[in-house]
Symmetry: C2
Subunit: 239 residues, 2 copies
């Protein structure tokens, strides 16, 4: 049992809260039985940490103080783990791109929703770090089944030129033909929306008809658009 937060292993793993160490080690910290179970099932576990005694392999019992240092949450979880960051490089025919989406909850929920509607790749252009604790919690495990890439919209367009780019236009109206795969749906920043320069690169622009308020939460807008793209079989994408 490890009881000291100054233990060398604990100090090394606690550094995984910082992005540069996650990238260097290709490891991340996950919290709670649900995420740990999924990571175990996927063969991605490096080391499991529990408050209770355990006879499982690769499992270390730790004190509450150590668990607190590892997880940095207000409510110390009974179990956490250091897990390998899954490496996937195959880009799917339906892609979601998040451009400057800042809120970890929004990024996590959008990753989960993308998976639900068959968008197998999420591209992050200067958005919240997908392997941070808050994002991991919101993905509910979807992180293990999705290809995550960090690159700009322009780099994506240059690398995958066959993907039709679908943007949103809050002030305009839906323009362009209903896209056929491969395509990439781009969602913009919570406050500013999509960058104008990005909008100009899009082949299709979509607008969700709303009233009374200026805009929808980016997660909600993304959910509605991905649902519509995944399930509309009419020749026009009627929003």
């Amino acid at each position: 049992m490890i009881t000291s937060p100054s233990n060398a292993t604990i100090k090394r793993f606690a550094k995984l809260h910082q992005k540069k160490y996650r990238e260097k080690e290709s490891l991340m910290i996950i919290e709670g039985p649900h995420l740990v179970d999924i990571a175990r099932f996927k063969g991605l576990i490096h080391t499991v940490f529990t408050l209770d005694e355990s006879t499982e392999s690769n499992t270390v019992q730790v004190s509450e103080m150590v668990m607190k240092k590892l997880t940095k949450t207000n409510h110390v979880p009974p179990i956490a783990a250091v897990a390998k960051i899954p490496k996937r490089h195959t880009v799917s025919s339906k892609v979601l791109i998040l451009e400057h989406v800042q809120d970890p909850g929004n990024v996590g929920t959008l990753i989960r929703t993308a998976l639900a509607f068959g968008f197998g790749t999420v591209v992050l252009d200067q958005s919240a770090d997908p392997y941070s604790a808050k994002v991991l919690r919101s993905t509910q495990g979807a992180i293990f089944d999705i290809t995550l890439l960090e690159m700009s919209v322009m780099d994506f367009k240059n690398t995958y030129p066959k993907h039709t780019l679908i943007g949103t236009d809050l002030n305009g109206q839906s323009t362009g033909k209903k896209p056929v795969e491969p395509y990439a749906l781009i969602l913009g920043n919570e406050g500013q929306g999509m960058k104008e320069s990005t909008q100009k690169q899009c082949n299709v622009l979509l607008k969700i008809p709303i009233k009374n308020i200026d805009s929808l939460n980016v997660g909600i807008a993304g959910g509605i658009l991905m649902h519509a793209l995944a399930n509309t079989d009419t020749p026009d994408l009627k929003l």
Copy 2:
């Protein structure tokens, strides 16, 4: 300028963080320039508190310590206000009912989304308190334009028997005819979904087709369903 958190007025208003005092006084605390501006526009301001000097009426300058006591946020806002809780009792022909939705962010986002799709009434059945700081922040001001009622699904059904009840069924399939107004869409708890006893009361059940994961975030599911109900003009509600 009020500099002491023990000031009688400040102590009285700080109590508005508790639900029972909000109900007793019909007042709530709102934070940040956006919400204060809307409340001012709607004529719902009781007292404004600012860190900077101000010549506006009903405005009191306070110290940072006092602002902290009033708002209970990590980042002390430059402006906050005590505002009247709007009283509306007219139930709209499209209603959203939240049954045991616990997360303040979900409740706030759903209130904002309801307003965007013309659901003018949100009924809260043992859900997160709509006038708490976190919910107010997520509503982005929609709280001022919506009728909020706290009552159980059964009480709603008995009081408004003409509203068709629409439920969700994650495991089944969509059943029942496309509803005509008046109707009420019911969303259930984040973990458990809708109560089985509530599901049995529903005239229509809807299922959103998803793959790879078990369920959507309740905010996302609500957004997709309200969008579909508000915008589908085909005889069948195709999800």
